[in-house]
């Protein structure tokens, strides 16, 4: 087990180094003058561009520059952004809690919806209840996030507000430390938007996984022992059916932490997705690069966590 964790961590570091290297090559390798010109602004003369190049260290060799960038990252610094000359760190530090709040809240909701419906569908296959679950899943599965989000805004913001019930704000974010109530109200619609689509996926995932498991020989053994239906389904069935769910959850959380672009956009949440979209619009390369490195890191880190959790869940994996 310890060996497995150690090996996963070594992989993690290696992959992160590769990611930073590729990001660096894609974003910062090029003619020093071009890069410096982009940085120095539209009206800059040759002298200013040269100054900028020196300040950015663009006159040094490639490996020196990459090393410099890497050391910066290791100290938790992504450098300054092109647009406003502010540390990218502070922008990320502002945006990340927004995205994290959005993701954690909707994960809780989609698991609370998806797992029970999935279990119900699998334990009553081909019944009315199963079909109702399938209908639920297909409805939200085939509904893009932006449609669902805009629908929610229309119904819960526009109609309610016109009816004199301004319960939900239209957009924006309030920190949980500022006002937990406002934080909740600002996030409930985005949470549901993201969660309903994901819940649909998880319903299908759990249904399939549990149906497979319930057909296994060891479920028959559990029944032959005289265990109650409840014990057989939950302790023997669901326990074994959860492993693929954990894998999917890790990947989903990693991806979403990097920015739930559409949901953040629809609800005007200033999260990582918004940050990235704005940076792309302004051709602010260091910010885009920072988000790319962050996004890749989240996914790799979540994968590592999944591998370790997998080993905790399944003793057979611990041998590997």
């Amino acid at each position: 087990m310890i060996r497995l964790v150690a090996r996963r961590l070594v992989y993690l570091v290696l992959v992160l180094i590769v990611i930073t290297f590729l990001t660096y090559v894609v974003f910062f390798v090029g003619n020093p003058n071009d890069l410096a010109a982009r940085f120095a602004g539209r009206d800059a003369g040759p002298a200013q561009i040269r100054d900028a190049a020196v300040r950015l260290g663009l006159n040094h060799g490639f490996w020196y520059q990459y090393w410099h960038y890497l050391v910066g990252l290791l100290h938790g610094s992504f450098g300054l952004d092109f647009q406003n000359q502010v540390p990218i760190n502070s922008e990320i530090a502002r945006a990340f809690p927004v995205t994290a709040s959005l993701v954690v809240g909707s994960v809780v909701i989609w698991l609370l919806i998806g797992i029970p419906i999935g279990i119900m569908s699998a334990t009553h296959p081909r019944t009315l209840r199963d079909r109702a679950g399938t209908t639920f899943a297909l409805t939200f599965l085939s509904m893009p996030t932006f449609v669902l989000g805009v629908l929610f805004l229309l119904v819960f913001y526009y109609y309610l507000t016109r009816a004199g019930l301004s319960w939900f704000p239209a957009a924006g974010y309030v920190g949980i430390t500022t006002s937990p109530g406002q934080w909740f109200l600002h996030l409930i619609l985005p949470w549901l938007t993201l969660a309903l689509v994901q819940a649909a996926i998880y319903t299908r995932l759990i249904r399939g996984s549990l149906l497979d498991v319930l057909g296994e020989d060891y479920i028959r053994t559990a029944r032959a022992k005289g265990l109650s239906r409840r014990t057989v389904i939950y302790k023997h069935g669901v326990r074994a059916a959860l492993t693929p769910v954990v894998t999917q959850l890790g990947i989903d959380v990693g991806t979403l932490l990097a920015g739930a672009f559409v949901t953040e956009r629809v609800f005007g949440l200033p999260g990582l997705g918004q940050l990235a979209l704005n940076a792309i619009g302004a051709a602010d390369l260091p910010v885009v690069a920072a988000v790319v490195v962050l996004a890749a890191s989240f996914i790799v880190i979540m994968n590592t966590i999944v591998d370790i959790v997998y080993a905790l869940l399944d003793p057979r994996v611990r041998l590997a």
Partner: protein, 341 residues
Amino acid sequence: MSLLEVRDLRVSFDTDDGTVYAVQGMSFSVEPGQTLGIVGESGSGKSVATQAIMGLTPGATITGEAKLEGVDLLAMSERELEAIRGSQVSLIFQDPLTSLHPLYRVGHQIAEAMRVHSQVTKAQAEDRAIDLLGQVGIPEPARRVRDYPHQFSGGMRQRVMIAMALALEPKLIIADEPTTALDVTVQAQILELLARMQRDYQTAVILITHDLGVVADVADEVVIMYAGRPMERAGVEAAFVEPHHPYTQGLLQSIPSYSGRTGKLRPIKGYPPSLMRQINECPFASRCPYVHDECRVAPPPLKPVGTKPGHLSACVLPADRVGLSAAAPEGAAAGAGAAEQ
């Protein structure tokens, strides 16, 4: 009174392709402490029959009677059956690799049944699990009790299954092809273990198998099953020395060592009938070398045959016409000489 008395058991499944009549009138009984071998080829309904009476065939339509000490299992609610499964009747399955839960320690899996059926503490159940693992011949049981199934070999896993089945000292163990998935050398060990545990615990055993050699070794009585029905029922000696039913004879002759030294295998020609319909004739009629007109009218009932009491056969042939030497049909003498060797 018989420990288990099954009468006219019928089991069918509704599938998308139609109804499958897996068991079409199975009857047998098991005496306390005895071993009943149920022999049949794949698809003859031997597993379905025994699992159906224990309520382990979800979605099946079951009729008939299966009385355990006089109480009909088929009339019981799911709750009542749960109380009997694992405590009074245990089951051992064919594939020990897939029959144990991969995510739980074997000790936990053995202790689980005890904790459900009797008032024991976790520690007591654990101690008993160690004790049982020792009894079924697993070395260092106190350490192995904390291992997972994948850390055991196939034979050792089947020992774990046997320990699990014995946990509550059941009156009956249904062993469904317990050695089929194992190496031949391990098979003998497992059968021996099963027989020893049966003696120690005074348990009756239903041994389901398609291996006649296994039955000859361990069974007291044999039921030969074909297409969901019993063809012949006899004490183990009578079944092998004085078989009456042509199907039983065919089975025995298809064992390579019975075929003589010609080196040729002697399979039964033809195929078993489809179970997608109810069979209203002798199910063996289409393959039987002695088929009569009356075989086609209705399935022949079991009738006493041979010289031993309790020897029954579902065949219209004369009751005294027993033994493999009587098996050669006139004119179709392909194997007559071999059978006499």
